[in-house]
């Protein structure tokens, strides 16, 4: 007879624990801010438009990096060629630090956060929890491979599997590792401001970690514009084909 109350008590305890766990999980999820929406460069009061792009102290580049960057710049500076001019996205960390001044859109789900940068339609997928892709299955690229986690109200994103890039402000090797920390603040007008703090470590290109901060202002009910970029090449190709077809056409002269 005495066992029954004990068994009932254990069951009640287990139920209570489960309820507590569920409540804790729900509370944790509720704590996480929703970053979904369109964001554009936030200018601090008195700051020139552009969000403070460029400039800053000299980067702690290694000699290897200096040589590679100098070689690249000597190649493109006479013409001013840029990756963007050839419809190539900025890549990390240039994308998260402003993407050429264009807005970005975030779609947030518990297991995956999509970041779409308007310029060149660059897309980053930040996987969380069980969606995180094993190292062996990651394909390197200009935006690398990103996995995220929440530390309270802060979203922490780690990006690896980058390819070497000397064609952006924060050049890096394929050994670069970038950590972004995102949190929300309020601007002076009460608007939501997304603060993105970046730390990049790269033993091949830098002698010390490189840091930068980008602030984004939420655009209520905002929309990204389409950004088709390869039209110029296609138009020129059609013009070439038209000229070729005109040249090949049989003469109508007597």
């Amino acid at each position: 007879m005495q066992l029954r109350p004990r068994a009932a008590s254990c069951s009640q305890v287990a139920t209570s624990l489960l309820a507590c766990l569920l409540l804790t999980a729900t509370e944790a999820a509720a704590q996480q801010p929703d970053l979904t929406g369109v964001w554009t460069t936030y200018n601090e009061p008195g700051q020139a438009p552009g969000g403070g792009r460029g400039g800053g102290p000299p980067l702690p580049l290694t000699d290897v990096a200096k040589r590679k960057i100098a070689t690249y710049r000597a190649l493109v500076e006479p013409t001013g060629d840029t990756p963007g001019g050839f419809c190539l996205g900025t890549g990390m960390p240039g994308s998260m630090l402003g993407s050429g001044g264009y807005p970005m859109e975030i779609h947030q789900r518990p297991e995956q956060i999509m970041i779409v940068y308007e310029a060149h339609n660059e897309v980053r997928r930040v996987y969380l929890g069980n969606r995180i892709v094993p190292d062996a299955d990651r394909l390197p690229g200009r935006n690398g491979h990103s996995s995220g986690r929440w530390e309270g109200n802060t979203l922490v994103v780690e990006t690896t599997h980058l390819v070497e890039q000397v064609d952006q402000r924060y050049a890096h090797s394929d050994k670069a590792r970038i950590v972004e920390r995102y949190h929300l603040e309020k601007g002076l007008k009460g608007e939501s401001v997304l603060v993105a703090e970046m730390t990049m470590t790269d033993p091949v290109f830098y002698t010390a970690p490189v840091t930068a901060v980008k602030k984004w202002a939420q655009v209520p009910n905002g929309h990204l514009l389409p950004y088709e970029c390869a039209e110029e090449g296609w138009i020129k190709r059609l013009e070439e084909l038209e000229k070729k077809a005109a040249g090949a056409a049989p003469s109508t002269r007597p």
Binding site: T79, T82, C229, E232
Partner: protein, 82 residues
Amino acid sequence: MKTIVLASVLALFGCATLAAHHSAVQFDFGKSAAITGVVKKFIAINPHMQLVLHVKDAKGERDIAFEGHSTNNMYRAGYRTT
């Protein structure tokens, strides 16, 4: 009418002598110039809008190629196709 339209468009365009794939470093955004001509080609594309103007002036008759910001930047600045 064309001259009026061009005056407003040229403020957002730079004269392009080479291919369109370049940075904005070569442009002097603090300097403006009015050029009158006949629009030969105008395409609203990314990464740069393009304009070819047929000009007749004291230097002779020629085409001048201009290019501007991206279509997206122009759109946000108020540009609309009509």
